[in-house]
Structures are given as C-alpha cells and as structure tokens.
C-alpha cells in the first residue's frame, strides 16, 4: 500500500518568550507515514500538540523544521481536497445547514446540480428536512453530521478530524463512530483522526500513532488489522488495549 502522508523529521518550536524553555518545543523529530485510505488515529494526552500536527499537515500552519509530504509533494497551504472537520464551530453559524454543505461544492456551476447533491448528502447523514435549519437550531450531534456532510460532499482525498466528537454525549459519540466507519467503507478517503479516547482509537483505527506528553515525540505506531465490529474486551485487541493503557501511564488493569 502506498503512503498518502509522509512526515520526515518534523519539529515545531514556538519562538515566543515562553517562561520555561522546555515549553518552546511542541513537536520533536516526528517521523511516520499514513497509508493511503487508512483510518489513522492520533492518540495522546490533551495539549500534547496533536492538534498542531494536524493543522500543519492540513496546511494551516508551518513546521519549524522537517518535511510534510502529501502524495509525495510538500504541503503548501490549505487545499479543498484535504478537508478539516473541527471539534466545534466549524460550521458557519450565519448559514443554514444546506448553505454550509453547499460550500463543499461551490466550484460546481450548475445550481440545480448543487441543490440535488446537497439534498443527497443531507439524507446520507440523516438530516433530511433539516437543510433550512441554522447550526444553533440543531443538536450537537446533528451539527457534527452536517459538518461531516460538508466535508464529504467535497469528495476529499484526506479527511482531518480534530476530536470531532469530543463535545458529544456518550451514546451520540458511539453512533458517530459507527457512522465514521461506514463513511470510511463508502468513500476512498484517508482519515486522520485525533482523539484522546483510547477505546475510540481502538474501535476506529487501522493505525494508531501514539504521542508522548510535551515536548511531543512519537511513542509507538501500532497497526490494527482487525475486522469491524471490534470487541476490545477479549483476545488480541484486549491485549493491545492493555498495552496502550500502560504506555499512557495507566498501570492497573482496568
């Protein structure tokens, strides 16, 4: 399998006059690859710089040193083929759900075609009939779905997701995970997904990149070649889960 994203010797350092000099280094010497069409989870403690890394790969920020290659080319700025799904507030609150999703296909000239496509994607994420609603009139889960629809309608090569379900309640979060797996099966998209939830990573990922606390390095890269649905309470997955818990500093077998 070819690699969609290659990270080589990446450093991110803030030049700001921060009090502790150790804090200046956010990302230290990262090297890893993301296989094409994989579902890769970035797992690490809160505030460890995973978001910074994702922003750099998405082209919103520059590395201080090192290379980020997508399809073998260095990243230069955001790209409508690499869509970012934010933790919250990614939808424009002054547009309706329909108008927001339509932004993903704004390059299409045919207004009728755009309209039909938006309706199709609204239906796909279970938001039929909610096109005319503004984001603040939708529930948290519905907002996430609308944003995922806006991303998917753009037919992206890469989908960046920065703890997209972090603000949702437990059951909604599980439902969204399930739908992300369906999305990954249906669309030929490489997904880079940030989470600090170990179980979420185990349920979703083909590959888990495990980060340390700041200054952030890579602790381990794990490949998870197991079919879905996954039961992480027994067998090899349970062993992997215990392994990750231990790596993240939880020693008692929970």
């Amino acid at each position: 399998m070819s690699n969609k994203v290659v990270i080589q010797g990446l450093y991110k350092t803030y030049e700001k006059n921060t009090v502790q000099s150790a804090d200046k280094h956010v990302l230290v010497d990262l090297n890893f690859t993301v296989p094409t069409r994989s579902f890769t989870c970035f797992l690490g403690p809160s505030g460890c710089g995973k978001s910074t890394l994702l922003r750099i790969i998405a082209g919103f920020d520059n590395p201080s040193r090192g290379a980020v290659l997508v399809d073998g080319e260095p990243v230069c700025g955001p790209n409508p083929k690499h869509i970012f799904v934010f933790q919250e507030d990614g939808l424009f609150p002054w547009f309706t759900a329909h108008e927001n999703i339509e932004l993903g296909i704004r390059h299409l000239k045919d207004a009728q075609k755009r309209h039909e496509l938006v309706l199709e994607y609204l239906e796909m994420v279970g938001l039929s009939g909610f096109g005319a609603y503004y984001p603040h009139e939708l529930s948290g889960g519905m907002r996430r779905r609308a944003e995922v629809a806006r991303a998917l309608i753009a037919n992206p090569d890469i989908l960046f997701m920065d703890e997209p379900f972090g603000a949702l309640d437990f059951v909604t979060r599980l439902q969204m995970r399930e739908e992300m797996l369906n999305v990954h099966a249906m669309f030929p998209t490489t997904i880079l997904f940030i989470t600090h939830d170990i179980d979420e990573a185990i349920q979703l990922a083909d590959q888990i990149v495990l980060f340390t606390e700041r200054p952030t390095r890579i602790k381990e890269v794990l490949a998870l070649d197991y079919p879905h649905p996954r039961d992480f309470t027994k067998g090899e997955l349970a062993a992997i889960r215990r392994h990750i818990y231990r790596l993240m500093g939880v020693h008692a077998a929970l």
């Binding site: 955001p78 424009f92 002054w94 704004r106 390059h107 984001p135």
Partner: protein, 260 residues
C-alpha cells in the same frame, strides 16, 4: 398564529401600559389639585392641545421630517464609511495599532463640542447638524466593527481557507457575516446616540427640526409644546430602536447572542 402573537405581545406589556396610564392620570390630577400654572408645568390635556396645534399648522410634520432627514444622512454617511474602515482595521493588526488610539481618543469627545467648528465651517443649516450626527455615529461604529472583525473565531477563517474561499468572497460571505452581530449592536446603539444628538444640534445650529421646536416653544413660553415636543422625540426614538431590534432577531444574526 397572529392572534397568538398579539396576545403574547399584550401579555408582556400590559403592566407597562397600565403604569404609563396611571402616571398620566396622576399627573393630570396633580396639575388640577395643586393649581399649577400651565406656563410652569402643563397638564396632559394641555400638552395634547398644544401638539394638536402643531399638527394642524403643519409644523410638527415638517420638523419631524427635517430631524429624520438629518439623522438619516448623517447616520448613513457615517455607517457607510465606518464599516469598511472598521473591517480594514479588523483584518490589519498594524493599521489597527496605528489608527485605533486616535479613534479611541476622538470618540469620548461629545459631538456637541464640535458645534463651534461645525458652525464656522458649514454655516447655519442642515450641514452642521448632519456633520454632528456623522461624528456621533462614525467613531463608535468604527470601534464596534473593528472589534467584531478582530474577534472572529479563527476556526471560521480556517474553514473558509479550507474551502478555498478568498478575495471579495471571504469578505462578503465570512468576515462581514461573522462580524455582523456586533455591527448590528453598533447600529442600534449609535442610532440612539444620533437621535440624542440631533435634538441638541438643532437647538443650536438650525431653525427647524424637533430640537428647534423645543427652543422655539420655550422662547414663546409654550411649556405645553416643549413637553409635547419631548413626547414626540421619545416616541420616535422608541420606534427607531424597535426597528433595529428586529434585525437582531434574524437567525443569521442571533447565533452570537445564543453563544454567549
């Protein structure tokens, strides 16, 4: 639906109406009981009679139109210039640092302090009044717009760049829209200020308008018309405020308030 809305409207306001009515009754009674002379403090019916006179000889309508005309021009000119400037300052930190202190300095100077300059430059008439309204609206409007734009959640800008929204589209569909709730708040507050200032300006700079009506009535010892004029000023101010408040209820504006 409509009948329901009317019912709700009345349910929210009946107590205010009742209190206003009671005050008017008390007022009228007090004027009679204590035998206060109309030159000192007229009763409610005398005020209404004085207003009716003004309506009949056409002066009231002329003055209302004159005042609204000046406010409209001064306000639109100021908003038309302040919003683009505010957006510019909002997106350019260097120019914000350079120009904002000057705007901050000029804003607390009451527009009325500019009256001598306005009269000297522009003479007596509509222009000095319009100029004073312009000053009353321009500086606060620049600040409201600047802070609205500078405070845009960066996530919106990331999302915009992600979908390739740039150039004039970035301004019209993202930056302006994101700052709009704050701009609308500015529009409402400065419209109130403009209405305050026009009355004062017309007392000094022109021979027409509601401000002039007050001065003129006082000079001819018509307290009933002074108070009548005040009543009309209050009523129009209330109406203006209500119009802009409707804008704040639009769903594409309201999100900001819900978030706070």
């Amino acid at each position: 639906m409509r009948a329901n809305g009317l019912k709700k409207w009345f349910e929210e306001r009946w107590s205010a109406f009742l209190l206003s009515f009671l005050i008017l009754v008390l007022w009228e009674t007090a004027v009679h009981v204590f035998e206060i002379k109309p030159e000192r403090f007229p009763g409610v019916f005398q005020i209404l009679k004085g207003l009716w006179e003004l309506i009949q000889d056409g002066r009231l309508l002329d003055y209302v139109v004159a005042s609204l005309f000046r406010v409209t021009w001064g306000y639109l000119l100021a908003v038309g210039l302040a919003v683009p400037l505010g957006i510019f300052l909002g997106v350019k930190p260097f120019w914000r640092r350079t120009i904002n202190p000057i705007v901050q300095f000029l804003r607390p100077i009451s527009p009325l302090a500019w009256t001598p300059i306005a009269l000297m430059w522009l003479g007596i008439g509509d222009y000095p009044a319009i100029f004073l309204i312009f000053l009353a609206v321009f500086f606060p409007m620049v600040l409201f717009t600047t802070s609205g734009v500078a405070g845009i959640n960066p996530t919106y800008l990331y999302a915009a760049s992600n979908f390739g929204i740039a150039g004039h589209e970035l301004y019209s569909r993202v930056i302006l829209q994101a700052a709009l709730p704050e701009i609308i708040t500015g529009l409402r507050i400065t419209l109130g200020t403009a209405w305050l200032v026009i009355v004062a300006a017309e007392m000094i700079a022109v021979k027409s308008g509601l401000g002039y009506l007050i001065v003129d009535a006082r000079n001819s010892l018509r307290m009933d018309q002074v108070l009548g004029g005040m009543f009309v000023i209050g009523l129009i101010g209330l109406l203006l405020d209500n119009v802009v408040r409707q804008l704040e209820k639009l769903p594409s504006i309201r999100w900001k308030r819900l978030k706070q």
